[in-house]
């Protein structure tokens, strides 16, 4: 809304004030860094980008010209030596690590390097020959025996049938037909796997839950077959995350600046609301990161999908930094916070993306979407939603949490971080409606932590991974159902009678039950097809009778209400009782999860 105020001043409205604060933030921040520092940082960033891109594009190059080879231009080996950058050719007669005579005899220098050069040259010749065979038009003559290789998931679950996302061909083993090398690939279902990259190192992606190895680059020899590891796309995707680590340092500092010596008090007393202030201060950094993301996408041939996938990551980086800067008590503590955020979020986004071509768990990271985009694959809307929704929602919740503290009474006080978290949550706890809504708000974190746990332990044996997942999944849900109740009690929002505690607990449990239904999106991307996914999110229900389905649908409601009541009862009795109640509620919840899995499977 904008207009003219009663005092005759033009009221530009909320957006106008946000924009004004954003402009001020840019000019003010620019004033805090001298030009030499900016220049040095820019040069370093450009150099890092150039080196990174060059490394991906052409290799690191450290081995270029490592060995000298004395070979005549007429020799058939001359082409091998010149094609491989490891070797530098010299004229016959000149000193060299390797001498190749006209008769094909190879004589290495009597040094360690000479022997190494010999070995490297033998490999190079082998690769050269393989390349010639692959280039042969009569593939049957070049490769009389062909094997179609299909990657399988580890220890597939018997109960899991063909998932919605399983490849159409349904092949789940190794097939040797002896006559056809072309596999149906994944383009049949529209997701496509036509790699735009002709680089031999870029192996096409098998479908989630099945699929095949390659459909476009022709046959490969056994020696050149490697597990699907999208190295090049992964490194390029990582380039998106790098600048975020720098931007959050500046962003965290500017938020912290407002809290040091009560600087921010003057903005708080202005007509700008705290929401406008935070939006205005955040906007330049968000726009800056977006600009960088677009520029990187342009340089590495990333599409709009890459940009759309990275923006929520940037948002979460900023949101987490905002909360960290609101809770940190000093710049020293802020440094610790931002480094933690950098490490955690980089790990959270990067590690799952490594498994882009292996398992649907990879989709918990939006960086996986970037990898897919760079490999020329399309992504379904539900997959985009699955990857990015926790980031968008998590960012919103974190900004909301930080905004709870962005007021005079909290932002200038020096309290331990846990106390500030509780204070911040308590600012949102006002009445029963908020008790219902808060667990829903926490769902993205519950979802993210459960997904992260799955991604971290899915490689472990199930005897170890399942108990961990049961406990973490139950624990995090119990925290989400009760922490706001505890915050409310800590700020005397409720009376501490047993009746009230049970009532509040029941409302919170109900709220969580409703919110939890949102997590069923995981079923759309095939996560329950793996054992760890079932442990965290429950099994797929298809095929069960209506009665069983109804029981399974309602049982969680009872569980959440009961365990939330336990938590609320503990919260009403103080911190120690709350922790004890939390452990008890987690135990009940984990037991229930185990029971359901055993019953259903």
């Amino acid at each position: 809304m904008s207009g003219v105020s009663s005092e005759g001043m033009n009221d530009r409205g909320s957006l106008g004030r946000i924009w004004r604060i954003a402009r001020w933030e840019v000019t003010r921040s620019a004033g805090t860094v001298d030009r030499k520092t900016i220049a040095v940082v820019l040069v370093l960033l450009l150099a890092a980008g150039f080196v990174g891109y060059s490394a991906v594009d052409d290799g690191v190059g450290l081995e270029d010209g490592l060995y000298t080879v004395a070979v005549d231009e007429e020799s058939p080996y001359y082409e091998v030596a010149t094609a491989d950058r490891t070797f530098r050719t010299v004229d016959p007669g000149e000193p060299a690590d390797l001498i190749i005579y006209a008769n094909g005899h190879v004589n290495p220098a009597e040094t360690a390097k000479g022997n190494a050069a010999h070995a490297a040259f033998s490999d190079a010749v082998e690769r050269h020959n393989e390349a010639l065979m692959i280039a042969e038009s009569d593939t049957a003559a070049a490769f009389p025996v062909s094997v179609t290789l299909v990657y399988e998931q580890r220890e597939p679950l018997e109960a899991v049938g063909d998932g919605d996302l399983e490849a159409d061909d349904g092949d789940d083993g190794t097939e040797a037909d002896g006559d056809s090398l072309a596999t149906d690939g994944s383009s049949d279902d529209g997701t496509g796997s036509e790699t735009a990259d002709d680089d031999a190192s870029a192996i096409a992606t098998p479908e989630f839950g099945g699929g095949s190895i390659d459909d476009s680059s022709g046959p490969q020899t056994p020696g050149s077959i490697t597990p699907p590891f999208p190295f090049q796309s992964l490194v390029l995707a990582f380039l998106f995350v790098v600048p975020m680590n720098f931007v959050i340092q500046a962003y965290g500092s500017t938020i912290m600046d407002e809290r040091i010596n009560r600087r921010g008090e003057l903005l708080l007393v202005s007509p700008a609301s705290r929401y406008e202030i935070v939006a205005g201060k955040t906007l330049p950094y968000l726009l800056g990161v977006t600009g960088l993301v677009c520029a990187i996408a342009l340089v590495i041939d990333g599409g709009w999908l890459s940009v759309a996938a990275v923006i929520p990551i940037a948002l979460l980086f900023l949101a987490a930094t905002f909360v960290g800067a609101m809770f940190a008590r000093s710049f020293k503590e802020l440094t610790f916070v931002t480094v933690t955020i950098s490490v955690f979020l980089t790990t959270y986004t990067f590690v799952p993306a490594i498994f882009t071509d292996v398992t649907p768990i990879a989709l918990i990271s939006p960086l996986t979407l970037v990898v897919l985009d760079l490999q020329g694959e399309s992504v379904r809307a539900v997959e985009y939603l699955f990857s990015t929704a926790p980031f968008y929602l998590g960012s919103a919740v974190l900004f909301g949490l930080g905004l709870g503290s962005y007021r005079e009474e909290d932002m200038f006080t020096q309290k331990p971080v846990p106390s500030k978290v509780i204070d911040s949550i308590a600012t949102h706890v006002r009445g029963k409606a908020s008790v219902f809504a808060m667990p829903i708000v926490f769902i993205p974190f519950v979802f993210a932590i459960q997904l992260l746990t799955v991604s971290l332990v899915f490689a472990l044996p199930e005897t170890l991974s399942l108990p961990i997942i049961f406990l973490v999944a139950a624990g995090v849900e119990e925290v989400a159902k009760s922490v706001h109740v505890y915050a409310g009690y800590a700020h005397s929002r409720f009376d501490s009678s047993v009746k009230t505690a049970l009532g509040i607990g029941a409302i919170s449990g109900l709220g969580f039950f409703v919110g939890e239904k949102f997590t069923h999106v995981v079923q759309l991307v095939g996560l329950p097809d793996i054992v760890e996914g079932q442990a965290a999110f429950g099994p797929t229900l298809a095929g069960d009778s209506l009665l069983v389905l109804a029981a399974i649908a309602l049982a969680p409601l009872v569980l959440h209400v009961v365990t939330a009541m336990i938590g609320a009862l503990g919260a009403s009795r103080g911190r120690r009782s709350y922790l004890v109640a939390l452990v008890l509620a987690t135990a009940v919840h984990a037991t229930y999860n185990l029971g359901v899995i055993v019953l259903v499977l």
Binding site: D11, N261, R262, A272
Partner: protein, 304 residues
């Protein structure tokens, strides 16, 4: 212009302000006095809308405290006014004027005027390179860029040299004469006494005294008369019991007697009693207690 009703603020189990009620007229300079932790700053911040009251209401310039419409008509000078030190006075003031939606032409003229009145030079120098007094003046200028009706000054002269302090006090009086309502807190009671029309004294979160300076003086201490006399014949002296009027204080100093009474009837009673034993009144001194003395007395009473 300001109406405060039963204002209360609690932090956890601690009550910072309890049951504060007062009203302030347009153009008045209203003082809030109290020792550290008395609740002055909390009260001022509740008026400014920075802190949400636990109970009670504060209406400023016709709007609830904290409402955007109210904040447009408010100039707030906190006790600490850290500036964005990488900015220049001009850019700093222009930013805040813009934030208050003051048209740039008006803002430019107003900023020049305020800086002239505050005798501020070096308008393009970074704020970080300015003296404490200059920074305080900039902070006051910032509180005025939106031409507010109400000014809340929390310790405006805190830590400044006497010259700058006087300057700021005079400037505050001028603002009041221009019709602006000023709420003013200070530890230095001389400052309050010199510019405030009315004041409240706060102790432990509650208002323990209120009114004009004269009201408070008469209610808490008022004027006293110090009567000095010689002893009577053969060194006879008249003690406080021998005077036919209440004697607040009595002492013997250097062979003389000193009586402190609260009115002229007491003076007459002392004179009559002294002359009755052959003595003579040699000096009568009228004393008015400072606000500081009253404050100490009131604060002591409240604490007791």
């Amino acid at each position: 212009m300001i109406e405060v009703t039963d204002l209360r603020k609690e932090y956890g189990g601690f009550t910072a302000v309890e049951g504060s009620s007062f009203s302030i007229e347009r153009g008045e300079v209203f003082g809030i006095v109290g020792h550290n932790g008395a609740g002055k700053t909390t009260t001022l911040k509740m008026l400014a809308g920075l802190i949400e009251p636990t109970a009670g209401t504060a209406v400023v310039a016709g709007h609830p405290a904290g409402a955007p419409a109210m904040q447009r008509r408010l100039g707030f000078l906190p006790e600490q006014s850290p500036l964005y030190e990488e900015m220049t006075p001009l850019s700093y003031l222009e930013f805040f004027a813009d934030l208050y939606d003051v048209p740039s032409a008006v803002a430019s003229e107003r900023i020049d005027d305020i800086l002239d009145r505050l005798d501020l030079e070096h308008r393009d120098r970074e704020l970080g390179n300015m003296s404490k007094g200059m920074k305080r003046k900039i902070a006051i200028a910032r509180a005025l860029v939106n031409d507010p009706d109400v000014l809340i000054f929390d310790e405006p002269a805190s830590g400044l040299d006497p010259l700058t302090t006087n300057y700021i006090l005079e400037f505050t009086s001028e603002l009041s004469e221009e019709g602006k309502t000023v709420v003013f807190s200070a530890h230095n009671l001389f400052h309050v006494e010199s510019i405030c029309d009315r004041l409240v004294i706060m102790s432990e979160g509650t208002i323990v005294a209120r009114g004009t300076i004269d009201d408070i003086r008469s209610a808490y201490g008022g004027r006293t008369y110090h009567v000095t006399s010689t002893p009577g014949a053969a060194g006879t002296v008249v003690g406080p019991d021998g005077v036919d009027a209440p004697v607040a204080e009595y002492a013997r100093e250097n062979g003389h007697c000193r009586y402190v009474v609260t009115d002229m009837d007491g003076v007459d009673a002392v004179r009559t009693a002294v002359e009755a034993v052959g003595g003579q009144v040699t000096d009568i001194e009228t004393k008015t207690p400072s606000l500081e003395q009253i404050f100490l007395e009131v604060a002591d009473e409240a604490t007791a």
